[in-house]
Amino acid sequence: DVKVTQSSRYLVKRTGEKVFLECVQDMDHENMFWYRQDPGLGLRLIYFSYDVKMKEKGDIPEGYSVSREKKERFSLILESASTNQTSMYLCASSAPLGSYTDTQYFGPGTRLTVL
């Protein structure tokens, strides 16, 4: 079975702190994604990566950065957390887009609260 794990289920941080969210997948997937999910707004793509050291901006990259030094690991960084970044953060991985098995698999999510 595909497994996507996220470093924390719940996280509470203060405004201005630097926050690291880590995601690891064990399926040797090329693609990894970070989303945030908010009530009424659905899933919104923050950043994604097609390969090691490659990254692409999603729909809402402002205030975030990412790092992919190894194929199995994709980190989301909040350089200076703000209260409007309180949200549920979801990591996902997939095989190459357009392939027969390009299904995304999700981690359990990290509920981040910024005070």
Binding site: L43, M88, Y100, T103, F106, P108, G109
Partner: protein, 110 residues
């Protein structure tokens, strides 16, 4: 522009009833996925449909992919409280990134 639309947005039914939820688009998808998400958890994959006209069954859940690969439906027979959750459809229109529908929030009352 919402590439994937889902209907209904909310659905509340009694245990034992049947229901169908829909996922529609004007774009063609190489495949579509259905997920169920419970509060505080990540979406869990239910099924992937890849062939136009395909029907897949998962116990009481029946998934259908439209012939033109632009739409899909999920039918639940004899719904149970454990079916309660947010049902999301998602897909990759060609080589573009994944898109998600807004979801159908289902509540099955005992």
């Amino acid at each position: 522009t919402q590439l994937l639309e889902q209907s209904p947005q909310f659905l509340s039914i009694q245990e034992g009833e049947n229901l169908t939820v829909y996922c529609n688009s004007s774009s063609v998808f190489s495949s579509l996925q259905w997920y169920r998400q419970e509060p505080g958890e990540g979406p869990v994959l239910l099924v992937t449909v890849v062939t136009g006209g395909e029907v897949k069954k998962l116990k009481r859940l029946t998934f259908q992919f439209g012939d033109a690969r632009k739409d899909s439906s999920l039918h639940i027979t004899a719904a149970q409280p454990g079916d309660t959750g947010l049902y999301l459809c998602a897909g990759s229109p060609g080589s573009q990134n994944f898109v998600f529908g807004p979801g159908t929030r289902l509540s099955v009352l005992p």
